[in-house]
Each structure stands twice: as C-alpha cells, then as structure tokens.
Symmetry: C2
Subunit: 240 residues, 2 copies
DNA sequence: TTGAGCGTAGTGGTCAGACCACTGAGCTGA
DNA sequence: TCAGCTCAGTGGTCTGACCACTACGCTCAA
C-alpha cells in the first residue's frame, strides 16, 4: 500500500521534488514500524535504486533526516535510525532560539517561563537527595567564581539538573533548546552587565529553598519570577 | 574572524564534514545579520565557489537548512531566507510528534497540557468578540456533524483559534506541532472509539464558558482537564 | 592457542560535469 | 498599450568517478 490516499486515478501523482518524496517515504517506513529505532538502513546506493532516484537526491534526503535527528550516518559503517528519543529529535530546537530576534525572543522566554516553572514545581515534589546534591554542587560552584563564562556554565547546569529531576525527558529536551548556549549568552550578557548578579543569586537561592522544602508551589513561583525577570528586562530593552 | 576559537595553531581545523561546515557558515551569516529575513542568497553554484566546496555538498547544506525552515528554495528563481518566524522554524516540530511512541507520547501530551492550559488562560483574558466568534463557529460545527474526520478537523481548529487568541505566535507554533494531524489522529482514534464524544463536548463547553466569562483560572483548569483526560487514557493504554 | 597487526571489501563523503524544468524579465508585434 | 514569446539564469536531477573511513577476517609470530 502506498502512503498517499488515491486522490487521483494516477498511479504515481509525482507531487513535489523527488528528494521530498524520498524524505516522506523514509519517514513513513519509520512511522509504520518497518524500521525500528537503532536499525541500520540499506546503503545509500541501494536505497536510491529501491526508490528509483539518483544517489545525489537520496543523499539530500538522508542529510535532511540527519539534521532532524531521525537518522544518523556513520562514515564507513552505514546509516542508522536514531533511538528517536526526545534528545535526538529536539536537538534542532536550538536553531530556533539561535535565529530568533526581537519580539520573538520574548515569546520564547515566555514559553520557557511556563515550562520551566512547571518543571521546577514537579522537581520539588519528586527530587531525590542525590539529585538535590547535584543541584547544590552547581549552585555552590556558581558562587565560587567570578569568571562570567563559568558562571553561565554552572547556571545552565543548575537549571538542567532541576529540570532533569522533573522526570519528563521531552520537556527537558525542549528547555535545553530554549536555554541553548548561544541564546543564553546573547541575552544574559546584557542582563548581567546591569549588575543583576545579586538578584540572580537571590532567585537561585529561593528556588533551592523550595526544592529542599519539597514545596511545588513555592518552586513554581520562584522559577517563574526568575525567568520573568529576564523576560521583563528584555521587553524593556526592545521598547527603547 | 572565523567562527571557531583558535583551539589549535592550525589555520583551518577542518572539523566535521564540509557539508556540516557549510550549514554552520550559512547559519552564522544569518545569525550575524549578514543575511536579512527574506533576502536572496547567491546561487548554489556561486555559494559553492565562495565556500570552496562542490555544488553537491552545497546543495546538501541548503537542503538541510530548507527542512529546518531557515531557507526556502524556489525553483527557477533562487534561494531565500525565510521570515524566520515561529511558524517557519517550528514546522519540523511536528516530526517529533509523528515519530514518538509509547511513553514519549505521554510526555508530549504533558507538555501540551502545560502549554495549552496556560494559552487558554491567556486567551480568556485577552480574547476579542471577533476571535470568540471564530471559536464558537468551530464549536458549533463540531456538534453539527457525525463525520469523525470533520469533527477532528473542527476540534483542531477550535483549539487553534483559542491558542491564537493568546497572542504568542511561538507558543502557537509549538502547540500546532504537538497537535499535528497525524498525532491527533493516532491518539484520538482510540480515545473517541471508547465513547468519549460526550465527555469531549462537556469539556469543550466548559472551556467556552470560561472564555465567555473572561475567567483565566477557570479556563486554565478546563483546558488542563481536557488534555489531562486524554493523557490519563493514554497512560492506561500503555500499562496494559 | 592466542592476539597483535595487516590487508581489504564495503560504506559514507566529496567532487565534477552534464542535462532538465521552471521562472522572470525583456523583446516583439499586433 | 499589452498580450505573447523568447531566452538567459536558476534550482532539480542524474551519472560516474574517486577519497576517507570502518569493520571484519586473515596472517603470522609469540
């Protein structure tokens, strides 16, 4: 059975470019379970013959699915389906954050505020002593240095550890994209230059307190306020 | 200045494949503002010469950025940078929903519950009479037919209209991906077969009431319950 | 018997050049 | 004036060749 409903009497409607069709066909193979996660695909040359297209076009299709995190090409070995986990598929989410500007950055921060506050609330309810120790490690490291690069790095790890404790890998992957290194660097730079370090520390401490107390509502409020501060600052920047 | 820090004394570290490098370079050109949204790029042949690679490799790079929604190729005309709006960049988000299975679907629904409940709450506060009329149109259409396809279609439009009224295009684009047609079709099918139509109608009515009353908290609760029902049903399905 | 080292077949990565399909701007002529 | 045509330029596709790398099996000395 073909993937398209017979909307025409034509046997092969030839819609779109051959590469686009190849992308859809491989996606369909995976979606229908004909290719399991981790499975190895036929060779580029063989796939091209199977779908009746040239190797160049097939390579473009494979490249497309590679950047989407669906396939993984290993030089000299073969092409494999990824595990199709959240991390694989949502890696490209960072591109959005990297290329967004102006009002769109505010919208992204708003999404991050919503997700991160909920994730922090979940974490407060579920976090284990081991996970809490990890969070505290980065909190302490953040206070122990003056190097902005290192602070940013531990800041990221601090939030990442909290989100991981929330137990939803998909949400974690999305937030990872929303907090991607370049995105944070661009916004944080200006924000911290205005002497927001002290405020950031206070907010981090509040989040930490809520986690220790296993108080979801306090955690939600603290996380929302934390991201909201940056969001509001960015709004102000855009107005002027 | 090159994009990479000089971690080696080498002038050109040659990291990764040439195609990957080309992707990064084009992305950098856009990120640095050398290519504005809507701008037209040099021809494939010219770009290939500029970056010192073959046209094949350049085409793969362009294809990759095309599927990511960053570039748009027009046959016979040229290659253009998209408007880099949320819709352009987050179109690929639907791929995640299409290829996710099992526990990951539950995680996706959890993310959707969080975002959609907040979006519905925002909509309740901001919705205009015109937007409300649009919502009601789909609500009525949903009740006026028995065709599952049409019901699903209006169900999607109902939520889309609400989310649009929330005023955050980025969030709307993400939710669009999370509610993509194939995703909904896969989950909804089983859900509705169990006679959930009546419940769905009640929940939609509750959401509508909250919107009319401009009551954000009621709207949030109603939307969360609505998605949560499906989420819980899916959890049950996975257990057995 | 064992294991380090060496081939080698097969795979993805890259390149070059050719032709096709489509677009759009300029020319032509009624 | 403008409908229609022409054609140079652009993306889309194909072919075939070679390079870089991997994995596996073979060899041969310990």
């Amino acid at each position: 059975m073909d993937e398209a409903l017979p909307r025409q009497t034509e046997p092969a409607p030839q819609k779109g470019t051959v590469t686009q069709r190849a992308i859809e066909q491989i996606k369909a193979m995976i979606g229908e379970g004909r290719l399991e996660p981790g499975a190895r695909l036929p060779t580029e040359r063989e796939l091209a013959v199977q779908l009746g297209i040239s190797r160049s076009s097939m390579r473009e299709a494979i490249r497309a699915l590679t950047v989407l995190g669906v396939l993984e090409a290993r030089h000299g070995s073969g092409i494999y389906v990824t595990q199709l986990e959240a991390g694989d598929l949502l890696e490209t989410f960072g591109v959005v954050a990297d290329l967004s500007r102006g009002p769109q950055l505010v919208e992204l921060l708003e999404v991050r505020r919503i997700l991160e506050s909920t994730a922090t609330a979940l974490a407060a309810a579920r976090i284990t002593p081991g996970e809490l120790a990890e969070v505290e490690k980065h909190l302490a490291a953040m206070h122990a240095t003056d190097d902005p690069e290192e602070i940013l790095s531990h800041d990221l790890a601090f939030h990442r550890a909290i989100v991981a404790a929330a137990g939803n890998d998909t949400m974690a992957a999305i937030l990872e994209g929303l907090s991607s290194r370049t995105f944070r660097a661009r916004v944080w730079r200006g924000y911290q230059e205005e002497g927001a370090f002290a405020r950031t520390r206070r907010e981090h401490a509040a989040i930490h307190r809520a986690l220790v107390a296993h108080d979801p509502e306090a955690a939600r409020a603290a996380a929302a306020a934390h991201v909201g501060e940056v969001e509001e600052w960015l709004r102000t920047q855009l107005r002027q």
